[in-house]
């Protein structure tokens, strides 16, 4: 399988990349290529221009910015999964990156690429939703910040405009988080049939605040607010966890495919909300 022909551009600066995007009719950003290249090979996507941002300088770092951790556009899944700052301050994202796809894909695919791609079953979007992260988008029109809660619009559709590059993700410090999933092949490898990320804030077992995000079961990764409300203000009791799990798919349309029926997915969403909560409250 070959992609259709395209013009290949390797910009030497972010400004050049943004300019090419703003001037092209049908351009696509290429980062790790782990989602874009398969789509181009299947001719589901036929960009006339491919802007390879993977060699742009200065975008491959993870830095401690005091009140938040900043992840650059080119940080790969393997790095997100093993980086000490992410493991400490954004545990759910480290865990989600560590179980995204397989080793070869994690060596090549980027965290920001996974977020921008906005697959309905991607792992890391659930983590950034639960962590209350902020997406930093840049274009020739200027930079803007998009809260994770507003970023995932629909299947394979994010809030990014065609001329924007997701240049980084800021994750606020504070609280504790965890991610848990069931992959399509049974273990962790491969997209989740259902997965959940949870974030809680509180001391001595009490839960002052919480966010719970679910992926793989509906048309996009989403915040399960009724599930979070079930644990907020409590002490993380097993009853509260069970109630939260029972609200994992409130207000969403659960989809089915060859990996699972609606009933099975509703069940799994609850199971993984429960497991992620138990992990973070343990």
């Amino acid at each position: 399988m070959y992609p259709a022909n395209f013009e290949y551009v390797v910009p030497s600066s972010l400004h050049e990349a943004l300019t090419v995007l703003s001037e092209s009719e049908n351009a696509k950003v290429l980062s790790g290529g782990m989602s874009l290249i398969p789509l181009m090979k299947m001719r589901l996507v036929r960009p006339t221009t491919v802007v390879d941002i993977s060699r742009l300088p200065g975008l491959d770092t993870i830095t401690d910015e005091g009140d938040h951790i900043a992840i650059g556009a080119l940080v790969k899944h393997a790095e997100t999964g093993s980086n000490a700052l992410i493991r400490e301050y954004a545990t759910a994202l480290a865990q989600a990156a560590g179980v995204t796809a397989d080793i070869q894909v994690r060596n090549q695919g980027t965290t920001c690429g996974s977020i921008a791609h906005a697959d309905l079953a991607a792992d890391q979007p659930a983590a950034v939703l639960a962590l209350g992260a902020v997406m930093v988008a840049d274009s020739v029109r200027g930079q803007r910040q998009i809260p994770a809660a507003d970023f995932f619009v629909d299947t394979l559709t994010s809030a990014l405009a065609d001329d924007e590059i997701l240049v980084g993700i800021d994750i606020p410090k504070g609280g504790r988080s965890a991610y848990a999933k069931l992959g399509r092949r049974g273990g962790d490898s491969d997209y989740p049939i259902a997965g959940a990320a949870v974030w809680i804030q509180g001391t001595d077992g009490s839960v002052a605040d919480a966010r719970i995000a679910v992926t793989g079961v509906s048309s996009k990764p989403y915040l399960a607010s009724a599930a979070a409300e079930a644990v907020i203000g409590g002490n993380g009791s097993s009853d509260a966890i069970a109630t939260a799990a029972s609200h994992a798919t409130d207000d969403v349309v659960v989809l089915e495919d060859l990996y699972g029926s609606v009933e099975y997915r509703e069940h799994l969403a609850g199971v993984y909300v429960k497991r992620a909560l138990e992990d973070v409250l343990a």
Partner: protein
Amino acid sequence: MEISISVNGTQTGGDVAPRTLLVHYLRDNLGLTGTHVGCDTGYCGACTVIVDGRTVKSCTMLAVQADGRSIETIEGVAVGDELHPVQEGFWECHGLQCGFCTPGMIMSSIALLDNNNDPSEAEVRHGIEGNLCRCTGYHNIVRSVQYAGAKMRGEDPQGASQGVSS
């Protein structure tokens, strides 16, 4: 586009269409047909090569993305007639049946052992999670990798590869 790629220590290059996949560059332009195309969708790992020290699936990478980089393929792992310890392990422990997955399996195993030359059975299975084998059931592949690890540590490889539970 004009590219230049080091493959198994030899500088290669030429003019390629941007849509040329790395695996086709290796197989068709360079004649290095040891790197296989299995699924062509990014899932099976038969096309695994090592780019700048890290395994990637060459069916899901453009040759132009590899411009200026350094690549190792299965053709580069033996030294003359002397097999790489991982190749020897696959030979000794019957780590292959049809052999289609083997080049990719060996590249992933080499990357695994470069990081950890004494992996447990679970670590070997995790290290080859991106490589599918339709024949062996993986059991003898795990033994092969542990054989290679022992050899690389300077221990008796026959002993190490017996330990894997069936």
